[in-house]
């Protein structure tokens, strides 16, 4: 990296985190999470309103100009981390991160002026509908086509794994120009969730705290956002930010699981002694701790790099996502097992994070996919560097 990294949070950022942690444990403690995840929409509008009105989180990274707070990826990461800790059920990633970022990057000033303020205020919820059954989260694989009718467009295709797709008012649909390939010819369209030619269906998910929808588009009315056929590169950036946000969510959940597990093992007594005193348990906890701290470092670094405009942010986003995916899942499995049989029961909370770890692992591409992407983005080193570093 050429940009000097801080490797720590500013006092303001730490205060923001503390405030957020208190707020979430207040408005969304686990009983609320359990109640919310059992509802149809999977989130609590009242909580969402308080998030928006009392903390302005819904506009966290949007320009003040649009009623946002104008913060960067680091603050978004802190928010995601705390939400991951608290298992908050809310369309934050969908609306406040992915959709907001996509509009901010791609839409025209007029469109931003029209769309962002209500998003920033949390009055409308938007989501990014790009993934499809074949190809999953790869933009290159998008098959949904846009047909132009003068200034207007209609979209036809099937979107899947759409975050909060059923509760979103506004769908930002990625579609391609007929005959285009790869990320060329991709455009971002605005589609009303209740628009004609739009059929939404809630998918049965492995993680009840993160809702997904399948969306069928049959000649759905759509408004082009920004320039036609040129959204590809911007969308890549948006998804990278999504990965960084998700990586931060994951380390929040993993860290919380670790704390709970340490507390539980210290508490739990077997054969007359705390099981934490069993050396083998200690070693497993140390390994969990390592995984969590490494993943934190990667997630924090990627967020800081994004704000610093680091040219390698794509590489770092994939690194953070892959690192956090493996760490979170490992931590979750260990947490369940170290809780003993009770950790596998539904009344014990551990599985809620396990399921979140599982969905986060797969969402926006799994670790294998991001490891491959890392190498694809790796710059070929010039022969000098190697010799140079050999002394180090």
């Amino acid at each position: 990296m050429n940009t000097p990294m801080r490797f720590h949070f500013t006092d303001e950022q730490t205060q923001f985190r503390d405030m957020l942690r208190r707020f979430l444990s207040d408005v969304s403690p686990l009983p609320v999470v359990r109640r919310t995840m059992a509802t149809e929409t999977g989130y609590d509008p009242a909580v969402w309103r308080r998030l928006a009105q009392e903390l302005g989180l819904t506009g966290l990274t949007l320009d003040e100009h649009y009623g946002g707070a104008g913060f960067g990826m680091v603050e978004a990461g802190i928010a995601m981390e705390e939400m991951g800790r608290a298992l908050l059920c809310a369309p934050f990633l969908a609306s406040a991160v992915l959709a907001s970022d996509a509009i901010a990057r791609i839409a025209t000033d007029e469109q931003k002026q029209r769309l962002l303020p209500s998003l920033a205020a949390g009055q409308t919820i938007a989501t990014l509908a790009f993934a499809e059954h074949d190809g999953g989260f790869a933009l290159q694989a998008i098959a949904t086509e846009a047909t132009r009718h003068g200034a207007a467009y209609t979209l036809t295709g099937s979107k899947r794994y759409v975050l909060d797709g059923c509760s979103a008012d506004t769908l930002l649909v990625v579609a391609r120009a007929p005959g285009s390939l790869g990320i060329d010819g991709l455009s971002l369209f605005l589609v009303r969730g209740d628009g004609s030619g739009v059929v939404r269906r809630a998918l049965q998910v492995i993680d009840p705290t993160r809702r997904l929808a399948a969306i069928e588009l049959r000649n759905a009315q759509a408004e082009l956002l920004g320039t036609a056929d040129a959204a590809g590169p911007a969308l890549v950036r948006t998804l990278e930010r999504g990965c960084i946000a998700l990586a931060n969510e994951m380390v929040g959940g993993a860290a919380r699981l670790l704390e709970d597990t340490l507390a539980y093992t210290k508490l739990r007594v077997q054969f007359g002694r705390s099981i934490a005193s069993f050396q083998a348990i200690k070693h497993r906890c140390a390994e969990m701790l390592l995984q969590v701290e490494l993943a934190k470092s990667a997630a924090y670094y990627a967020a800081e790099a994004a704000d610093a405009g680091d040219a390698q942010v794509g590489y770092l986003a994939s690194l953070a996502k892959a690192c956090a995916s493996d760490a979170y899942l490992h931590t979750a499995i260990e947490a369940i097992q170290l809780h003993g049989g009770i950790g596998f029961t539904f009344d014990n909370d551990t599985h809620l994070w396990f399921k979140r770890a599982k969905s986060a692992e797969v969402l926006l591409g799994d670790a294998t996919w991001h490891r491959e992407r890392m190498i694809a983005l790796l710059p070929r080193p010039d022969p000098q560097t190697k010799r140079a570093e050999q002394v180090a």
Partner: protein, 391 residues
């Protein structure tokens, strides 16, 4: 005794008495009284004091004809073994017969919340009120409690003695208002175990097994038989009537009996990782072309094949009466590795669909069930409990 003669005798008896269209209990009653149902048991108690070799011979004759044997499902035989060793004649009189006929089903009430595998830490209390025992407390990890008639109860009767010396062993009637059985819902939606709550539940004075404060010793007998029989019991049904078509009322009733007992375990294949699905799905999904998938899939095939072969080596050595090598004890450790790796492979194979469950999920939800079940393998402490409860 001469094996050939025994084989002839049992075979003749079976041909004379076996009737696939009889009622299950009706047949078993006849079988139990004949002493052929449990030939290894004492002659005085439905048995013939046969050594293992002859027992095996008898079993083989049963298998040849596909004859249904005595009830073995659940922990019935552990209860019986315990009663045979520590029970009074009255106990044997009252319980053994109905155990073998399958009329009574039993459950084991040892573990408690928190105590995990430390059974001696039990805090469920039994107090004598002058004419009967009053039980209060909670048990956990009981498998068949929801359909059990009787329970093997380990409860604390002396709070001053060292923990191993304050326990007493009882047989408790599960059909009473003081006993509440609650299924223990798991993170994967299934419920293999129950919690059992006792509030002033009653145990007849004569249903105390062994002596007061001697419960630990009695419980050890139950656990010893549990371990020794584990394999035998699990295969208990598998090797019956191979190649004999099993039609007739008696088989229907037996199938029903098995179904009831097996019900809590329908998810166990998923818990083990369903390696059998990996290769077919790799081809069907086309992910077999992905070199990273190929590496992980190969790792899984290596691990699961080697684990299976290791188990076969252990069994072969056992059958040859060779000294049991270490490879026997490794099953659990291997199983947890297999399950974790299988979950990773199934996640890779499912791609984005790994997010989905139920009808929307791959294999109609089987894959999701795998991903949500594997963490149960090798649960610290809990495992043995779980494993042992499998029939």
């Amino acid at each position: 005794m001469n094996e050939a003669a025994i084989r002839a005798e049992v075979n003749a008896w079976l041909r004379a008495n076996w009737d696939p269209n009889a009622g299950l209990v009706e047949w078993r009653t006849k079988l139990v009284d004949s002493g052929w149902g449990m030939p290894e048991w004492p002659a005085g108690w439905y048995g013939r004091d046969f050594p293992a070799s002859l027992v095996r011979a008898v079993e083989q004759e049963f298998a040849k004809l596909g004859v249904v044997g005595v009830a073995r499902a659940g922990i019935r035989l552990l209860a019986a073994a315990t009663l045979l060793e520590h029970g009074s004649d009255a106990h044997k009189q009252q319980f053994l017969r109905r155990i073998l006929t399958g009329e009574d089903s039993w459950c084991q009430l040892f573990s408690e919340p928190g105590s995990g595998s430390d059974l001696a830490g039990a805090t469920t209390r039994a107090d004598f009120d002058g004419k009967q025992w009053i039980v209060n407390g909670q048990k956990l990890w009981t498998t068949s409690a929801h359909h059990a008639d009787w329970g093997l109860l380990l409860a604390r009767t002396d709070w001053d003695a060292p923990k191993h010396e304050g326990l007493t062993y009882f047989v408790i009637d599960m059909h009473q208002s003081g006993v509440t059985v609650q299924p223990l819902k798991q993170m994967n939606g299934h419920a293999s175990f129950n919690q059992v709550f006792f509030s002033d539940a009653v145990v007849k004075q004569e249903h105390l097994i062994g002596k007061i404060a001697n419960g630990w010793a009695v419980a050890m007998t139950t656990l010893a038989h549990e371990r020794r029989r584990a394999d035998g019991l699990r295969s208990g049904y598998a090797d019956i009537g191979v190649g004999v078509e099993r039609t007739g009322r008696i088989f229907d009733e037996e199938r029903a009996e098995i179904a009831t007992v097996m019900e809590p375990y329908t998810w166990y294949p998923q818990r083990a990782g369903r390696v059998d699905l990996a290769v077919p799905r790799a081809f069907e999904t086309g992910r077999i072309e992905d070199p990273a998938v190929r590496q992980e899939l190969a790792r899984l095939l290596i691990l699961s094949s080697a684990a299976e072969w290791t188990a076969r080596r252990a069994r072969a050595a056992q059958q040859l009466g060779k000294p049991q090598g270490p490879e026997g004890s490794l099953g659990k450790l291997a199983a947890s590795h297999v399950a974790r790796l299988a979950a990773r492979v199934h996640t890779m194979l499912a791609g984005a669909d790994a997010l989905l469950a139920g009808e929307d999920g791959p294999e109609a939800g089987i894959i999701a069930e795998i991903l949500l079940s594997v963490p149960a393998v090798s649960i610290a402490g809990g495992t043995d409990e779980i494993q042992r409860n499998i029939i």
